[in-house]
Amino acid sequence: MNGFLHQVFSGLATGGVYASLALSLVMVYRATHLLNFAQGEMATFSTYIALTLTQAHVPYWIAFAITVLLSFALGIALERLLLRRMTHHTALAAVGVTIGLLLIFNALSGWLFGYTVKEFPSPFEGGGNGAVLGGLMSAHELGMVGVTLAVLAVVYAFFRFTPLGLAMRAAAGNPESSRLVGIRVGWMLALGWGLAAALGAVGGIMVAPVVFLDPNMMSGVLLYAFAGALLGGVDNPAGAVVGGFAVGVIENLGGAYVVGTDLKLTMALVIIVAVLVLRPAGLFGRVVVARV
């Protein structure tokens, strides 16, 4: 029983990372109807920036803040410089551009920071690998969940209670009307990309101490995040968060009791296909009816 609980809790910990990445995917998807396949590689790149800063003896949380801000700026720059210029919005172009970004960021990470697997510091392990909650979680896992939940709460509050958050939601939901009431829709989309990149950076920094840092660190994580986003409903931010946590737990339990660790990535495929077969709108998504 204790083993089972242990698997559930450590699933929740990685699930937090999937949740933040799933949320960034959903934010971009709602705003621009693009699935950003580069989200994971962008997060890896951000994590390398954080590593470089901590290695230069910048205190951990300051490095964290600088990285998040830089990632935010990077996301905005990408939207402004590249994506908004995409005039012929075919399905091929929509997927192709973010795949191109995926390749570029992956190669850049390797080029600038090397291909060797690197350790990443955790701020939560003061003395030894302290287990907490009666041994159910490591200190880092608990910290990871804490940070993820805190960030998600901030994002929620931002969208729910600030005028800017409202404007962004409006721009995503109905661009034409938003423009008529004076919202600068283009900038709102850019902000969405920036926020998504920042969220991804948080996810990368949090997961790096567990999976170790290398240029392909997020390729698996991205798939779980997609599975989480799809499970929760690809246009529902809250659903994506719940889906992300759920996928973390499913992945861990499945890995421990059903398929074994060497088939873990296959579970992302199984979850994705299962959602598409059984409930394409996801658990909390709206069924979209197109107006003809």
């Binding site: 699935l35 075919t90 997927v95 795949i99 970004l101 570029i104 088939l263 990535l265 003809v292």
Partner: protein, 332 residues
């Protein structure tokens, strides 16, 4: 068929056969593998270029075809040519099963599912449970066929020519399929799904069929690669392969048969050249050219070439025939 078309066909055959006797060794091997990539990209083109359903996982079908052939040849002593339809069929079946749920929906779901498939396939091939069939991490060694004794050909030449023959047949098939009603249905779905449905096209059926045919082609490419490389192992079929095929398609030019050949040349030769400069360079070149193609030449290398030929032609002084035509039109 006019005399001119027959002449063009003979010329094409000569150009394709010539390398077998003009080159040898590694160069011939590279050309063989270019032809194989061309078939794989042709498969991808059917579903992504013509039907507009983006697949990021054709490496998976390539892998399935390769393993089907390797298993049949190594464990059951099948002759290589007999394994090709089975390899294609196995890929098509998996393509149908995986694609069906995603293709009922509009949106980027197929890209998602196929990316997940491509990521999962090396893991599945490595899995302990299938080791008796797949050879696990070790993979399977394939004994390539030698030329029949009545043909004075080396093994490399024989493999090249077999690949070219298969490629030629598949291109004819594709060319035939991508004409008329079928082609219009596919392109209509790509360009305006709603209008296509209103015109009475069964969208889900056309898409699923196109996807299965596409997987069939790419599966055969994988089968040929197993024979030519003489070895299959999980690491040869990582997600990088799928993305390389996708990049080849876009850079070569989507929805164009000559484009698939340009794409294959790109996938075969550019990474090697780039890698000489830097280990990361192929990734940067792939990514940058992919983005640049989408923005600057959406019809890819084939489109750019067509445009160039068109310009050269229109700058040529008009021949008497076209001049006469122009005059008639003017009079009318």
């Amino acid at each position: 068929m006019t005399a001119r078309r027959i002449l063009a066909l003979l010329l094409a055959v000569a150009v394709l056969v010539a390398p077998a006797f003009l080159t040898s060794g590694y160069v011939l091997f590279q050309l063989t593998s270019t032809a194989i990539y061309a078939i794989a990209i042709l498969g991808l083109d059917i579903v992504t270029g013509y039907t507009g359903q983006v697949s990021l996982g054709h490496g998976a079908f390539y892998a399935i075809g390769a393993y089907a052939t390797a298993i049949l040849m190594a464990n059951f002593d099948w002759p290589f040519w007999a394994t090709l339809p089975v390899a294609g069929g196995a890929s098509a079946l998996v393509g149908f099963l995986i694609g069906f749920p995603a293709l009922r929906l509009s949106g980027p779901y197929l890209a998602l599912v196929t990316l997940a498939l491509a990521t999962a396939v090396p893991q599945i091939l490595r899995a302990k449970a299938l080791e008796a069939w797949t050879g696990g991490v070790q993979g399977i060694v394939v004994t390539p066929p030698s030329a029949p004794s009545f043909l004075p050909l080396s093994q490399d030449q024989y493999l090249y020519l077999c690949t070219i023959v298969v490629a030629f047949v598949l291109y004819l098939l594709a060319d035939n399929m991508l004409r008329g009603r079928q082609r219009r249905a596919m392109i209509a779905i790509r360009d305006h799904a709603l209008a296509a449905e209103a015109a009475g096209i069964d969208i889900a059926r056309v898409k699923t069929r196109a996807f299965a045919v596409s997987a069939f082609f790419t599966g055969i490419a994988g089968a040929l690669s197993a024979i030519v490389v003489q070895f299959v192992a999980p690491d040869s079929f990582s997600v990088t392969l799928s993305i390389a095929l996708f990049v080849g398609l876009v850079v070569g030019g989507a929805a164009s048969l000559p484009g698939t050949v340009i794409g294959a040349l790109f996938v075969q030769f550019i990474p090697n050249i780039a890698e000489a400069a830097n280990k990361s360079a192929p990734g940067v070149v792939y990514g940058a050219l992919l983005v640049a193609s989408l923005y600057l030449m959406p019809s890819g290398g084939a489109g750019a070439l067509r445009h160039l030929l068109h310009r050269i032609r229109s700058h040529r002084p008009p021949t008497t025939e076209t001049a006469k035509q122009g005059a008639t039109i003017h009079v009318e």
